[in-house]
């Protein structure tokens, strides 16, 4: 690997992981805010209005950082991946441009209305702005996932005489079978992030004995949505993502499961460390024959192992991929058990007094971010050595004339800037939390330059 390619990959990974920290919260919160605003609008209940207002501020903060870090993502396709863009622009140019025209305008324009327009436009338009924000942010997700789904599972293309691909059916691109489960899983994960954060803030207020009314709403909404999302993450969405990986990308599947040798009745590795010299798992803890059962609904089914494929087709970071996948699934299991317990407590009316559970809800909030990042690492590291699966290699994709010194320059620049942005975000986030929902009843807002 030339060092320019290495820095290009590292820069893309760093910038996209950082970018995605923000949209996952905004996409998740958009749904919850829409729920709160709808209740406020239909029942004229000031309490829900206040809650919606409070979360809109957090939304706006996260949105501002999401926009700021999103623009580098789009530019990097051309800047760092010129050969890939020349190759694939005839297809993914469509979805990326659609994202701009159909989603980003909608989000950005109606955020202005939501933040500044309450007095000018009245409650109905204000409620509608929340709906448009939900629509816009989920459409962003849809188009960008359509791009990624095409890279995972290319459909509806032809290759021209220069070797570049061109779309043959826009409809085919948007109904890529891969897209359906990927989009469902990603959006469910975003709802998980949003609701876990909401529940955590509520739990913090309850434990501190402040803003009790709002806190209960936050915890209730967060736990109900969080439990639902955790369930859907495992089944059907996560399960079907795994199925389609094993169907179309068997090497990735074998690699993230840590499954080295083809066998009938394959075990599911729960814990253990892949050993790349002996090609075995050290300290294994396995569920016998479960992998065969999960993938083929039959304990004796055969699953191909990594060693059946030439080594240069293995993802080049196999152990990292394995850990990423196991972190995601492990966390998913923890989320589900925790949230279901919280749901039972809520239903029985004990949740608001169960301090141990409130502590757990408060402390779990960062973990959906970790699970999501691990999930993306699974999808993207597992796609290697391909940039477009089966069609175009990562090693051929970067810009030919941008040297390693220049990429390192920009990588270091992004690292420094993003460290600053990360700290700034946390500082402002905790500041809004510590001010609390009641204090925010005025017109003031984080993204609102005035007041």
């Amino acid at each position: 690997m030339t060092s320019a390619l290495f820095y290009d990959r590292l820069q893309f990974a760093v910038t996209v992981i950082f970018h995605y920290l923000f949209p996952q919260l905004t996409m998740g919160l958009a749904l919850l805010i829409f729920y709160l605003k709808s209740r406020a609008y239909w029942t004229h209940d000031a309490h829900y209005d206040q809650a919606g207002h409070f979360w809109t501020k957090i939304f706006a903060l996260s949105f501002a950082f999401g926009v700021a870090t999103g623009i580098p993502m789009e530019f990097q396709f051309g800047m760092n991946w010129a050969k890939f863009s020349t190759f694939a622009g005839g297809v993914i140019g469509q979805t990326l441009a659609m994202e701009g025209i159909f989603a980003f305008f909608l989000e950005s324009t109606f955020l202005g209305v939501l933040l500044f327009g309450k007095k000018k436009f009245g409650p109905f338009i204000h409620w509608m702005a929340a709906l448009m924000l939900l629509l816009g942010s989920w459409l962003s997700g849809l188009f960008v996932i359509a791009t990624n789904a095409w890279m995972q599972h290319p459909v509806s293309y032809t290759i021209d005489h220069d070797g570049a691909v061109h779309v043959t059916s826009l409809w085919g691109l948007l109904t890529n079978p891969w897209l359906f489960w990927q989009f469902s899983h990603v959006m469910t994960a975003a709802v998980a992030t949003g609701s876990f954060v909401m529940a955590a803030v509520g739990a913090y207020y309850l434990l501190s004995g402040i803003h009790l009314d709002s806190a209960k709403t936050f915890v209730r909404t967060g736990v109900v949505a969080g439990a639902g999302a955790s369930l859907l993450l495992l089944f059907p969405t996560g399960h079907h993502e795994a199925l389609q990986v094993f169907e179309h990308q068997p090497i990735k599947g074998a690699a993230f499961e840590g499954h080295f040798y083809t066998e009938a009745g394959a075990d599911l590795v729960l814990l253990g460390q892949p050993n790349m010299d002996t090609l075995t798992i050290d300290n294994p803890l396995v569920a016998p024959q479960m992998l065969s059962f999960i993938i083929h609904k039959h304990f004796g089914a055969e699953i191909k192992g990594l060693t059946d494929f030439p080594r240069e087709q293995w993802p080049d970071t196999m152990p990292l991929l394995y850990y990423a996948y196991h972190m995601m699934v492990g966390l998913g299991t923890i989320f589900l058990s925790l949230m279901l317990t919280a749901l039972v407590l809520l239903w029985r009316g004990h949740l608001f007094q169960a301090r141990w559970m409130l502590w757990a809800l408060m402390l779990i909030a960062p973990f959906p971010y970790i699970a999501t990042t691990a999930g993306w690492m699974t999808a993207e590291l597992g796609r290697q050595p391909w940039l477009v699966y089966g069609l175009f290699r990562t090693a051929e994709g970067n810009s030919p004339l941008v040297g390693s010194g220049n990429v390192l320059f920009s990588l270091l620049g992004f690292l420094g800037l993003y460290l600053f942005l990360g700290l700034l975000f946390l500082f402002l986030f905790f500041e809004i939390i510590s001010r609390g929902p009641a204090a925010l009843s005025g017109t003031r807002s984080i993204s609102e330059p005035m007041s």
Partner: protein, 351 residues
């Protein structure tokens, strides 16, 4: 009109609209520290652009997307070739966006001074770089036979066959852009504000107007030497001369309306001046997207970079629908927020 040409028009229009719309945000940033001295005044100015600036910035993002869709090779070559400059654009763009979003978060004066300075300086820098970018596109870049190039930030500051991003021509273009957008921002503020902010903005606009006239004259006279292709195109297709004429008339119109005190007309004439200027450049370069400085056969044109006919056709269908909706709701939001900034919603309510 063939579909490639239509997409050329669309791409140019997207970026030109960006220049006009985000242009007045950038201009507001440039004059910000001068027209608004107290915290209250600064909040008034921020509120003048607050509800709309984010939507304006999307024209750049969407313009990039549309360029990628229609002319992927040009997108790839251009963005990788200007690698260093674009990274700085990204960093400055990030800081600009955050400064608007975050300055009023605390009543703390150090916090606000910090973001105010970031807002002003990032606006100047961005306008400078965007102007230099237009300068680079006019002057051309050292494209190789495989369709890629890479330019350093500067070499000898001369626009020769192996130029840098900055040479005397592109620097002048940058300065002109700063001047044009500063006036544009001041024009906008004159519509949106009153009292002392209004009169300070007005002084800047008047003085800036003459700087723009002067710089425009200087640059126009150098153009035929820096890029002979321009003159060649206008000689072959003189119909296009309407565009520069329109632009100059709009400039004269703006100066006239300023004299008779019609502020809205000044603003729109100035916008037309910007649109006409960019349109003139596009006409002169057509059908080139990037001109090669060394070997003209290496130039990237709309014909050797276009996506497939099917992609362009289907793109045209959804683009027309999408952009119509965008224009509709954007207009509606602008109308909703029209009028001078309401001070009563600001005063007293400090937190």
């Amino acid at each position: 009109m063939s579909i490639d040409i239509l997409w050329f028009v669309i791409v140019v229009t997207m970026f030109a609209v960006y220049a006009v719309l985000d242009g007045f945000n950038l201009g507001t940033g440039m004059v910000y520290l001068f027209v608004a001295r107290t915290d209250l005044e600064r909040r008034v100015v921020m509120k003048a652009i607050g509800p709309v600036w984010k939507g304006n910035e999307v024209w750049l993002v969407a313009g990039g997307g549309v360029l990628f869709l229609a002319f992927p090779k040009a997108f790839a070559a251009g963005f990788s070739g200007f690698y260093l400059a674009l990274n700085m654009v990204l960093w400055v763009l990030i800081m600009r966006g955050l400064s608007i979003a975050l300055r009023s978060h605390f009543p703390n004066s150090l916090w606000r001074d910090f973001w105010d300075t970031v807002f002003a300086s990032s606006s100047v820098l961005l306008a400078m770089v965007l102007g230099a970018a237009v300068g680079n596109i006019i002057r051309g870049v050292p494209l190789a036979g495989d369709g890629y190039f890479f330019v350093p930030l500067w070499t000898t500051f001369m626009p020769g066959p192996t130029p840098g991003i900055l040479d005397w021509f592109t620097v002048l273009m940058g300065l002109l852009t700063v001047a044009i957008l500063a006036v544009h921002g001041a024009n906008y503020l004159m519509i949106k504000t009153d009292a002392v902010i209004h009169s300070r903005a007005s002084r800047i606009a008047v003085a800036g107007g003459w700087v723009v006239v002067l710089l425009t004259l200087v640059l126009m006279s150098t153009l035929p030497f820096v890029q002979p292709v321009l003159r060649h195109t206008y000689d072959t297709y003189p119909l296009g001369s309407i565009l520069p004429m329109l632009s100059v008339t709009a400039l004269a119109g703006a100066l006239y309306f300023r004299r008779v005190g019609k502020e809205t007309a000044v603003f729109f004439s100035w916008a037309l001046f910007i649109l006409g200027g960019l349109g003139s450049v596009a006409w002169g370069l057509f059908p080139n997207l990037l001109i090669a400085t060394e070997d003209p056969t290496h130039s990237l044109t709309i014909y050797n970079t276009a996506a497939s006919p099917y992609g362009l056709q289907v793109g045209l269908v959804w683009f027309s629908i999408g952009i119509t909706m965008v224009i509709a709701y954007t207009t509606w939001v602008y109308l909703g927020f029209r009028g001078k900034v309401d001070r009563s919603s600001i005063e007293g309510n400090y937190e």
